[in-house]
Symmetry: C2
Subunit: 210 residues, 2 copies
C-alpha cells in the first residue's frame, strides 16, 4: 500500500523517503522526479538531508547519451592510478557514480538556482533530446550523475529511485540525497519520524524488491 | 590586521570565512585546516554552509602523490567525450577539481564521521606519508579533492585556502565549503554577519593578493 502512495506522491512532484535495508547501507534518501525540481527543493535537500545531491538515470539512457561509469573512464585515463579504483564498497556493491556535471548556463554551479537548473535540463535532455547532452553540459560540475544497473542487479538508492520512477510512469531522471544524522546516517526510526512530520511517504527497499 | 587574526584562528583549529571577490565567484567559503577536522565541524559545514565539502592540497604535494586534475584524466580516459570538458568556468578560471575520494576505512563515506575520517587521514598522508595515498584511499568517493595552482596563477578559494595555510605554517590539507543563501550564493554582507555572530574572522581575497 505504501508503494502505491509513494507513486502517487512522486507523480504529483512530491518527495518520498526511501530506506534501503539494514543489511546494505542502512540509509534513507530523500528523492523526487527531476522534472519537478525547484531551487526550494534543493534547499530542502541540503538543509534537511545533508548528503550529496545526486541524479540517477537508467543504463539504457546513459548508453544512448554516451555516458560511462566513472571507474571505466578512470581506469582508461589513469592506468598508473588503478590501485585507487573502488571495485566494491564496504556494503558490497560497485559504485553507481558516473560524472559530476553542470549545465552550461550555470554560473558557479553550486547555489540552489544553479543546481536546480542543471537537474531540470538533465531531465529534459534524458526525455527529449539525448543527443544534445554533450552540447548542453560540462564536467567537472556540482551534480553527481549516477547510472542505475537495474533493480534485478543492484538494490541501491539509485536503482530503487529508478524503479519507483518506472512504476510511476515517470521517464527521465530522479534526484536523490542521503539523509544524515549527527555523526552518522540518519537512523531508520528518525527517517520515519521525519517523513511523518512532513507528510511524506516512507518506504523500504524490500517493498520494491521482495 | 584581519589576516593576522585569521592565521591565529587557523592555528588554533578554528574556521574562517573567506570571500573571493565581486569580480570572480562572489562567494564566501567556510574553511579550516584539515588536521583539526571533527565530525562536529562537518555537521557545521553541511548545515550552515551548504555547498560541497572539499579539500585543497598544493600542486607540489599533488605531484608527489601522483594526483592529476580531473580534466587530464577525463581527456585521456574518454576522448570520445572531450566536448564535455570544461576549459574555463563562467567566472573565468579552470576548475581546481582532481578526484572524489574516500579513505578505505569508511563505510558509505558520506556521514559526518566518515567524511571527517577521510579528511583527517588525507591531511596525515599529505604531511607524513605521501607515498601511501594510493594504498589508503579509493575513488570515486564523497570528498572532493582540489589542487591549488598557486595564488600567483589563480585566485580561487582553493588557492586562498592554501595561501592562508602556508602563512599560518600549517602544511597539509585545507577543508573548504561554499556558503549558500536561499537560491544563490550567500551575499557578502550576510557572510560578514555570520562571521560576526559566530566569532569567526572574515577576510577577502584581495587582502591576500593585493
Amino acid at each position: 500500500m505504501a508503494i502505491g502512495e509513494a507513486l502517487a506522491q512522486l507523480k504529483k512532484g512530491e518527495m518520498v523517503v526511501v530506506f534501503d535495508s539494514e543489511s546494505r547501507e542502512g540509509e534513507a534518501d530523500l528523492m523526487f522526479s527531476a522534472r519537478f525540481v525547484s531551487p526550494k527543493k534543493i534547499e530542502t535537500l541540503r538543509k534537511e538531508a545533508g548528503g550529496l545531491i545526486c541524479v540517477a538515470i537508467g543504463k539504457q539512457d546513459a548508453e544512448k547519451m554516451g555516458l560511462p561509469f566513472f571507474t571505466d573512464i578512470f581506469e582508461r585515463g589513469a592506468p598508473e592510478l588503478k590501485e585507487l579504483t573502488c571495485r566494491k564498497t564496504a556494503y558490497g556493491d560497485k559504485p553507481a557514480f558516473s560524472l559530476p556535471i553542470n549545465h552550461r548556463e550555470v554560473y558557479t554551479g553550486i547555489p540552489d538556482n544553479d543546481r536546480a537548473l542543471t537537474l531540470k535540463k538533465l531531465d529534459e535532455v534524458v526525455r527529449e533530446r539525448k543527443g544534445d547532452f554533450m552540447k548542453e553540459f560540462y564536467v567537472p560540475g556540482h551534480i553527481f550523475l549516477l547510472i542505475g544497473r537495474g533493480i534485478e542487479n543492484r538494490r541501491g538508492h539509485t536503482e530503487l529511485a529508478l524503479e519507483l520512477a518506472k512504476r510511476a510512469g515517470l521517464d527521465g531522471a530522479m534526484v536523490l540525497c542521503e539523509m544524515l544524522g549527527t555523526g552518522k546516517a540518519l537512523p531508520k526510526k528518525d527517517a520515519m519520524e521525519y517523513a511523518k512530520r512532513n507528510g511524506l511517504v516512507f518506504i523500504e527497499g524490500k517493498e520494491l524488491t521482495g
